[in-house]
């Protein structure tokens, strides 16, 4: 008896040491969620599948944490960076060499930005493969809308990263933006105008740098923040993750003991189960836990893990800063940012010379293909005719064909990106990974 008491006291002491507060019961846990501004994003109770790592891989949360890291590091970098053609490069050199922890801040910002592009993309892949863009069992769901918000968030993430790419004002930045904006200018009718508007002129100079800076530091983050809030709010309004819908639907098939209920209706006298038993009971204790601390703790795991991975990558992978931007010297090869390299690769593949006639690859690979893909993505929730039973299920059998097509597109994008990033050398020639590129010439 005494041993148990000591053990429980020890446990209590440990609990108090490791957690400043944890709810004593369900009611307190629920209250904590309602009362706390940040926690009110969460329901009081959360279903076990929603909480599991295996269903969502927590990719949405990781994206949000990456955005948080980017906002914090970005805000500090704004104090240190000068968005002027004369001083931008120098200020980045200063951040790199003499600002306390400057190299880490800049590296963390860069790694988090690259990861955010990748993670947001993977989040989209997860949502597609689990048909989570579709309405399931709940009332007033508008998941297709949230999917479109998500697609917009992905595009905004690309733009955020793209606008940030120019800011160091080195050769990498200058020529990546040259390639990127030249692809954009291939759009019919408005292409040249879009490029002019984005650059504030016909060349990448002070106007372009300032526009990219203002977009990068104010307009796009505000847009992402707004869309993110809307995205989260819709997740709550849609009844949580799509796996909850699946849980609700599958529960009905479970045989359960009749519930003691004061039902004297005609139906209640019918053979078998009462209408109450047929009601989805996703709130039942065996399917759910209190959000506080179960969800918050796991959120902490995701946050810490993301920060740790970013920090370790920052330490392990040096952040490049090439020579200062020089419009007179084109590096060979000149590449767009890596997440647009599948487009650059497509541009190369689709530029075909047929006698005197040239097929405009920039229009096909740079505008039409991505345009069609985005349009198709936005329309897909309305075209997908699979049954609600497929919602919230990984690779549902009845969605096999569309998942396969989707995966082929994803694989194509990934392969083209890998080819563009690692296997294209000078003059955009193909190099196998084991083939060495020619040396980059130097002055001395």
């Amino acid at each position: 008896m005494d041993t148990t008491k000591t053990r429980s006291t020890g446990k209590e002491v440990w609990r108090r040491l490791t957690w400043t507060w944890s709810p004593a019961g369900s009611r307190e846990a629920g209250d904590s969620v309602v009362r706390n501004f940040i926690l009110h994003w969460f329901p009081a109770k959360v279903s076990l599948p929603s909480l599991s790592y295996g269903y969502s891989f927590w990719l949405g949360t990781v994206s949000a944490v990456l955005f948080l890291i980017l906002s914090l590091t970005g805000m500090i970098l704004m104090f240190l960076y000068v968005p002027s053609v004369e001083r931008a490069y120098q200020s980045v050199k200063d951040i790199e060499f003499v600002v306390s922890f400057g190299w880490f801040l800049r590296g963390l910002h860069r790694i988090a930005a690259h990861l955010m592009v990748a993670v947001v993309f993977l989040h989209m892949v997860r949502v597609f493969l689990t048909a989570a863009y579709r309405n399931g069992a709940g009332a007033n769901q508008a998941r297709p809308l949230n999917w479109i918000i998500g697609v917009t968030l992905l595009l905004a993430t690309f733009l955020l990263s793209f606008t940030g790419y120019l800011l160091p004002w080195d050769q990498l930045a200058f020529w990546a933006i040259t390639v990127g904006t030249n692809i954009a200018s291939a759009a019919p009718l408005v292409g040249e105008k879009i490029r002019f508007l984005l650059l504030g002129g016909n060349t990448i100079d002070q106007n372009a740098l300032l526009r990219f800076y203002v977009l990068h530091c104010f307009f796009l983050p505000v847009l992402v923040l707004f869309l993110f809030c809307w995205h989260m709010w819709r997740v709550r309004k849609d009844g949580g993750l799509a796996c909850v819908d699946h849980l609700a639907l599958s529960q009905k098939k479970e045989p359960a003991a009749p519930v003691k209920a004061k039902t004297y209706s005609l139906l209640g006298l019918a053979r078998g189960r009462t209408v109450h038993v047929e009601t989805a009971l996703v709130d039942e204790d065996r399917y759910t836990v209190d959000s506080s601390p179960n969800l918050t703790r796991r959120l902490l795991v995701a946050t810490l893990a993301t920060m740790l991975v970013c920090s370790l990558l920052t330490i392990a992978v040096p952040t490049p800063l090439e020579e200062a931007a020089n419009p007179k010297v084109t590096p060979n090869p000149a590449k767009a940012p890596w997440y647009f390299l599948w487009l650059q690769e497509l541009v190369t593949i689709t530029t075909v010379q047929l006698g005197d006639f040239t097929i405009n690859g920039a229009l096909i690979g740079g505008i039409l293909v991505p345009g069609i893909l985005v349009a198709l993505a936005c329309a897909w929730p309305f075209l997908d005719r699979s049954s609600p039973a497929a919602v919230g299920v990984w690779l549902a059998r009845e969605r096999r064909r569309q998942n396969l097509v989707f995966l082929i597109i994803v694989a194509a994008v990934v392969i083209l990106t890998i080819v563009g990033t690692f296997m294209r050398g000078p003059y955009w020639k193909f190099f196998w990974p084991w083939q060495a590129w020619p040396d980059v010439p130097v002055h001395f």
């Binding site: 060499f97 810490l304 020579e323 002055h443």
Partner: protein, 400 residues
Amino acid sequence: MKGKNLDTAWVSALSIATLLVAGYLYFHYFTPEWKGHQAEFRNMVEQRFGPARAAQVPSGIQQVWIPQLNRTDRCVTCHLGVEWKGLERAPEPYRSHPKGILEKHPVARYGCTTCHGGQGYAVTAEAAHATEIQHWESPVLGKQMARMYSVSNRLALLETHCNACHRYERETKGLEYINHARQLVRDKGCRACHAINGRGGVIGPNLTRIGEQSAEQYEYSRLSGRQSVFAWHLAHFKNPKQMAAESVMPNFNFGSKDSQALTLLVMSWKPNDYPPEYLPGLKFGDFPTQEEIEKEQRMLSGEGAFFVKKGCFICHEVSSLGIESAAKIGPDLALAVTDVQSRFGVTVDDFIKRPTGTMAVVLATQIQLTDAEKAEVIQKLQLAYQRKREQAATAAPSAK
């Protein structure tokens, strides 16, 4: 919940790992490479010169900032002894800079990388010297580079940086290779085909800004070994056709030193935005015409040369001695002997010794005469008056 304990364990493990990363970052922050150098330098100074001098050794990142040259050189963070006396034999990076050259090119005015190359922003040896890193085009041109290109004089490569400022001089003291190359340019008649600084032929490319051409703009397929602009020029000077088959440039059979010198010269020919006061030999201004120069020469060689050398002619003409004044603010000094008497009531002699009015100010400030010069000017004024009278005497009969 089953995952609860596991999650708590994860939180603990990740927190500890994050803490370790933070620890690493702080360790990294408090132990930079330069701190070790500063501590070692301080010890060295204490041993050689005592604690009082050691206390003068600065700590923290040091930099020389020269906005006119767009330089921020942090080399002096480790190379602390550059301007110290008595450390001529100290090991690097603490050695004093050779004195003569530093007197003419003080660190505060020129920085370090202007002459030596390297990455001034950096505070680690590897990044600052930039001999082994990518993405910095100007490495430190020291022993290592000289050895790589088999240049016998280990400081010769630096001359290419000297010539960034000295390019408008015909000869510069101390620039052995550059002077040699300049002589070759004259002797071999390079300007017959190439324009340099606005003069020369059009058969070959204009070389005035050839040094700014980027490394990517050269064709290296015929070059074995290191692909660099320096190596390309070396090979090209030794045998132009080997590097560019279609070239019509004759093979001058340049030796190694000739090729090295010419390479350093052409690589130095690049535009820079250094202000004019950094460019010796380059004259900006409102230069006199040939006619004006000849007139001044004439005036300087005649009897009235004294009035030109001393600057009297700015205000006064001396008509009898052929000295003209552009301004003619003052009276003709040819008549000074009588003129002074009538204006001031004193002799020229007394007036020069005790001037009044405007001349008192002029002779006290702008034109200060020694006693010997005062005697000379009196004598010259009398001579001018005498000549005036002679001229009048010869002119009078002819007028009749």
